[in-house]
Symmetry: C2
Subunit: 618 residues, 2 copies
C-alpha cells in the first residue's frame, strides 16, 4: 500500500468492503489433522491482490504467516517439470482429476502412478523427482524456488513440520507404496520428510498473491524481475491447478470463480488470472472439502464483481492496430519539391504504415495479416511500426516474417521499425527466414519516418518524378509571383555554397540568420546531436528552403541542419535581404510574403498530420 494508501482507490475500497463483509462469518473449522495447525487463530483473515506489474493491494492480516501446505504442490510440480520435462513427469504422475479425497491412496489401476500431482500420492511422487544428491540439497532447492516466487527468502515453520512429522503415518504409507511401484526410486521416508518440510514453509497471503502474479506473468516475479519457472511449464502448472487444485470442488470452483487455484489446509488459497493478477487469501476455517470458507466467498465475489472469470473475457484481437495510414494521408517529415509533393498525393496510397500495438500473439497478429493481404491495390511499401508493441511471441514473429517474405517476393518493400525494445522479433525473424540479407533489409531503418522517406523516394524514383537538382529558381516557392526582372535581381543576391556529406549547415544555438535554398541533395534537421542522443526532426530536399524561422525573427537556431550526402545551396544572407527593402521594396515584400505562404503550407501539412495522428474524426 505504498502509493495507493494516500489517496482513495476504488479497488482498495472494494477489498476492504469484502474483508468487513466476511470477517463476521464463523462457518467452518480449523484443521486439526496436523495437531499444530489447530493452534491457528480461527479469526485471522487477510486478502491480497498482486498485479502482473508488481503492485500489491492488501487488507487485514495480510502479513501474518501460516504454512503453505498443499499450495506447495503445484509449485514443486513446476520445479519437477523444469528438472525433468513433461514427458518424464507424465510417466510418473498423471494429470486427470481423481474424484477421490486429497489423502486417498489412489493410484492408476494399470501403471501404479498417482492420478495427478495435487493429491498426496502425486505430490509425494513429485517431490521425489526434484534433482538433488541429498535430502538437504533437495529441500534447499525447493526453498530457493519458493523464495524466487515470493520475492523474499522463505523459511520452514519447524513446529508445524515436527508436528506433521510425528503424525504423518498415512503419508509415510504412501511413500512406501510409491516405492513399491517404482514411482519413487530413493528411500521413501526421506522424500516424505522433505514433503512435510515443503508443506511447512511459512508464507503470508501477500506472498501467495505475488506467487500467483509470478505465474500470471509467464513465470517472472513482477517485483524482482527474476524468473521462477521456465515459461513453457507455467501452463502445465496452471492446468493441474485448474483441473485438480481445489480438491473435490475443482469443477465447482472453475464454474464459479473461473481461475486456476490451489488451497491448503492451513487456510490459504492462491488463485491466478493468467496474464493479469494473483490473489492470496488467508482464513483458517475450512469447509468439509478442506477449502477455506471465507477465501472461497472472497474469491467468488471478487470474480463476480470484477468479472474475472477466465472463460468469458471480452473480444480482444482488433486492438492490435493502433493506427494505419498511407503516404497519401501523411508523408514523411521530408519537405519536398512541390512537384514531388504532387506525385505523392496521387500515388502515396501505395505506401502503407501500420502502427501495431499491445502484445502480438496469434489472435492479435492474425487481423493485421488479414488487413495487409486484403488491401485493395497491391502495395509498394509496407511499414510495420512496432513502437507500441509491448511484447511479441514466437508465433507472431514467425507469421510477420512469412508475411514480409511474401510481400518482398511481390516487389513490395517491407520494413519493421522501432524494434529496438523487441530483440525477440529480429531474432525470430532471422531464424525463421534463414536469409540474413533479407533480414537486414527488413530491419534497416530504426524509425518509421526514415522508412517512409525511403519508400517515398523509391516511388518517386520509379516514376522518374524525383527532383535531385534544382538550379531553376522558378521552381522554388519563394520566387512565386516575381517578374523576370525581379527574379534576376533575386538570383544575383544569392551565393552558391557546397557542403560535403555530414557537414553542418546550420548549428543549433548560433545566431546565423541566413536562408538556404536547396539546389542539390538532402539536408537533415536534428534536435540535439546529429547521431546517438539526437532526434532527426525532418529533412529538406531540392526546391525547398530551410532556416526561414530565424530568418524572420532573428532568434537563435533551434536545430542543427546537416548535409546528408553532397549538398548545394543558394544562400540569401539576412543583411542582403534587409538592404533589399530600400533598393527593391516590392521584391522585398513579395519574398517576405512567399516565406509566410511557405510557412502556411507547412502549417497545413502539420494540421493534417495532427488529424491523422489523433485519429479523431468524430
Amino acid at each position: 500500500m505504498d502509493n495507493a494508501g494516500s489517496r482513495f482507490s476504488p479497488i482498495q475500497a472494494f477489498l476492504e468492503f469484502l474483508h468487513a463483509k466476511y470477517a463476521p462469518l464463523r462457518e467452518g473449522e480449523v484443521a486439526t489433522y496436523i495437531p499444530e495447525l489447530a493452534t491457528a487463530d480461527p479469526e485471522a483473515f487477510g486478502i491480497c491482490v498482486a498485479t502482473t506489474d508488481g503492485f500489491v493491494y492488501e487488507v487485514g492480516a495480510s502479513r501474518q504467516e501460516f504454512t503453505i501446505q498443499s499450495i506447495s504442490k503445484p509449485f514443486v510440480y513446476g520445479l519437477a517439470l523444469d528438472d525433468n520435462g513433461p514427458e518424464w513427469m507424465m510417466a510418473k504422475v498423471g494429470v486427470e482429476p481423481s474424484g477421490d479425497a486429497f489423502n486417498a491412496i489412489s493410484l492408476h489401476k494399470v501403471t501404479g502412478c498417482p492420478l495427478n500431482p495435487m493429491i498426496n500420492t502425486g505430490a509425494i511422487a513429485t517431490t521425489g523427482q526434484i534433482a538433488a544428491d541429498t535430502p538437504q540439497q533437495r529441500l534447499e532447492r525447493i526453498l530457493q524456488m519458493f523464495s524466487l516466487y515470493a520475492g523474499r527468502r522463505l523459511r520452514i515453520d519447524q513446529d508445524v513440520y515436527l508436528s506433521e512429522s510425528r503424525t504423518g503415518h498415512r503419508n509415510r504409507a504412501i511413500g512406501h507404496l510409491l516405492r513399491n511401484f517404482d514411482v519413487l526410486t530413493d528411500e521413501p521416508n526421506a522424500t516424505v520428510d522433505t514433503y512435510f518440510q515443503q508443506c511447512a514453509i511459512a508464507v503470508t497471503c501477500g506472498d501467495l498473491a505475488l506467487m500467483g502474479a509470478t505465474l500470471a506473468n509467464q513465470g517472472i516475479n513482477p517485483l524482482t524481475g527474476v524468473r521462477a519457472i521456465r515459461e513453457d511449464h507455467v501452463e502445465n502448472v496452471l492446468s493441474v491447478m485448474a483441473s485438480c487444485g481445489m480438491y473435490d470442488f475443482s469443477g465447482g470452483w472453475i464454474y464459479n470463480v473461473g481461475m486456476p487455484a490451489k488451497s491448503g489446509v492451513a487456510g490459504g488459497v492462491l488463485a491466478v488470472l493468467p496474464g493479469q493478477l494473483g490473489i492470496g487469501v488467508y482464513s483458517p476455517r475450512l469447509d468439509t472439502q478442506g477449502n477455506s470458507v471465507r477465501a472461497l466467498k472472497v474469491c467468488e465475489e471478487l470474480s463476480r464483481a470484477w468479472e474475472l472469470h477466465q472463460f468469458n473475457p471480452p473480444y480482444c484481437p482488433q486492438n492490435s492496430r493502433r493506427l494505419t495510414y498511407t503516404s497519401a494521408q501523411r508523408t514523411s517529415s521530408r519537405t519536398r519539391h512541390p512537384a514531388e509533393r504532387e506525385h505523392l498525393r496521387a500515388s502515396g496510397h501505395l505506401i502503407h504504415v501500420v502502427e501495431m500495438q499491445s502484445n502480438l500473439a496469434f489472435s492479435t497478429t492474425e487481423p493485421i495479416i488479414r488487413d495487409v493481404i486484403g488491401s485493395a491495390e497491391k502495395p509498394r511499401g509496407m511499414i510495420l511500426d512496432c513502437h507500441h508493441v509491448t511484447s511479441i511471441n514466437r508465433v507472431a514473429a514467425r507469421l510477420l516474417a512469412d508475411l514480409a517474405r511474401d510481400l518482398k517476393s511481390r516487389k513490395c518493400d517491407v520494413y519493421f521499425t522501432h524494434t529496438s525494445r523487441l530483440p525477440m522479433l529480429k531474432a525470430q525473424v532471422a531464424t525463421h527466414l534463414a536469409d540474413s540479407d533479407l533480414c537486414a533489409e527488413l530491419f534497416r531503418y530504426h524509425s518509421t519516418d526514415a522508412a517512409l522517406e525511403q519508400c517515398e523516394d523509391l516511388l518517386l524514383g520509379e516514376a522518374r518524378a524525383q527532383h535531385t537538382s534544382g538550379k531553376n529558381l522558378r521552381e522554388f516557392e519563394i520566387t512565386a509571383g516575381l517578374t523576370e526582372e525581379e527574379l534576376a535581381v533575386f538570383a544575383s543576391l544569392l551565393t552558391d555554397r557546397h557542403y560535403a556529406s555530414g557537414e553542418v549547415i546550420i548549428r543549433l544555438g548560433t545566431e546565423s540568420t541566413n536562408l538556404f535554398l536547396i539546389t542539390k541533395g538532402v539536408v537533415g534537421v536534428w534536435l540535439g546531436a546529429v547521431t546517438g542522443e539526437g532526434r532527426r526532426m525532418g529533412s529538406f530536399s531540392v526546391g525547398t528552403m530551410v532556416g526561414e524561422m530565424a530568418f524572420l525573427d532573428g532568434e537563435k537556431r533551434s536545430a542543427n541542419v546537416v548535409a546528408e550526402g553532397d549538398v548545394e545551396c543558394a544562400v540569401l544572407e539576412i543583411a542582403t535581404f534587409l538592404a533589399l527593402q530600400q533598393s527593391h521594396p516590392t521584391l522585398h515584400t513579395k519574398i517576405l510574403r512567399n516565406i509566410g505562404i511557405s510557412l502556411a503550407t507547412k502549417l497545413r501539412k502539420l494540421n493534417q498530420d495532427v488529424t491523422i495522428l489523433s485519429a479523431q474524426r468524430d
Copy 2:
C-alpha cells in the same frame, strides 16, 4: 476463404500443412455403437478456424456434414441455463468431473443427480430442463438455438437419429433412472427421444468453428451479430467443457491444448479460445477414449504452434493507456493570448489527458486508476478519452465512476470524452453514481479538445490570468517592434466590428482576405458546417489574429470562423494593408514579418503536438 484465398496467408498455409501432415494418419476406428455412424468415410478430414470477428479459415472436408453427437451437450446445457438459471440447474446436474466413462450410469450417491452435464446421464437430465409444452416445441427450440450459433438453419440427420433410436436402450434406462430420482419429471422416453434428435443434428466443421467463435465472442455470433446465449452463461458452458468436455482425457486435454473443448463420437471436436477464436475439426477415427485421433493431433499442434494455451498468455494490462499528456505538453486547439500561453506552460501540468484504449475490464482499468491516483501533484482537470476504447464492462465502468466521483469531491474536474460509441459507459456510470447532475457534468463534452479548453479556461480563471478583452494593441504579436508612431498609424487602419453569438465572421469558400484581431470573446474555426457534420478545428481568443493565411496568399477561405458568444474584432482590410506598402513601407514590412513569426509560432506548437501524438521519442 473469400478474401484470404486470393493472396498468400501464412495462417491458411499452416492449416494446409497440418491437414497434409495428418491426412495419412490411419489410427483409430470409426464409432459403431450407433450402426449408422459406421457408414462414415473414415478418411474424411476437415479443419476450420473462425475468428471472433467472423473470418473463417478452412481446409479439407470443411463443408461435409456429420452429426454433432455429444458436442450438443454443452450447448443444450447453455439453453437450459438461459431457461432456468444456474441455481436450478445446479440442483439438477452437478459440475464435477466423474472419473467415469461417458455412458456410465453414474449419479451422485446422496442426491441422485448426474455429476455433470457432459456425461449421458447429465445430458439427458439437461435436455429435460428445456422449457417447452411439447416434445416438438422442445426440439424446435433446441434446433433454433443451434442455428443461432451456426449462423444458418441446421437440420436433423434422420438416418442417424432413427439408427440411435432403434439401439439406444442404455440411454432409455438412464431416462427411467433419472425419472426415478425426480431429476426428470416428465415422461422420460420423450426426453430421451429429443436427446437422440439433438445428437443427430448435422453440422460441418465450419459450423463447429463458428459455434466456438460465438462462445469466444461472449455469446454473439460474429457473422450474424445475433446473440445465441446470455452473456453471463457463456462462462458456465465453457467451464463444464473445460472440466469434463473430453471424456476421460479432460485433464490431459487442458494440460496439452489449454482450451475448453468438446468432442463427439461422429468425429467432431470443437475448441474455444475465449475472446479469440473457435476451432472445428472433423475426422471420424476415434481413440479408445472416444476422441477423434486426428482432431486431437491437430488441436495439440495448433495450440503449440500458435501458442494458444489459455493459461500462459502474455501480460496485458499496460496496454490500456494509449497516450497520456498534460496541458503543459499539449494545449487545446485554442490559440490564446501570449500571456495565457505563458500561464499554461507553467501550470498546465495540472490538467491531464488519458487516452484509454482496447477493452476496459478490471485488469486494464486498474493501472489507469493507479496512475491517476498516483499522480505527483493534485490534478485540477482529468480528461478520460474513450475514443479508442473498443468495449467496456460493468466493473470497469463502475471503477471509473468511483474514481471520477472521488476526484470531483477533491475539486478536480473530470470529463469522459468521445463516449458516443460506448452507451454502456454512461448508463453504468449513471446507475452507479445515482446523481444525474454529476453524470451530466462528466459527459458534458463530446471531444477531448473541448474538455481541455474548458479545463484550461478554469485554470486561467482561477489564477485571474484570463484575457477577455484586449483593446491594448501592444499585447498583440502583430505589433511587436512597432514604434509608438507606427502603432498609432496601425491603429488608425483598423475597423472595430461586433459579432453576435453564432454570427459567421469568415465563410468557407469566400474570397474575403481581411485579417481579424480578436479584442473580445472567442471565435471557433469549423471545417464544414458549424454543427452536426462539421468539425471544430480550433478557436481563437483575445490577443490573437485569425485569417492570416488567406491574407497572405489571397486563396479562398478554407474554413468557417464563427463567433462563440459576444465577439469584437479589429479588422485590417487587405487593401488598406497593401496601400501601406507605399505610404509606410517599414511598417508594412514589420507587420508582414510579424505575421510570418506568428505562423512560425503556430508551426512550433503543431510540431510539438505531432511529437506528443506520435509518442515516438526514441
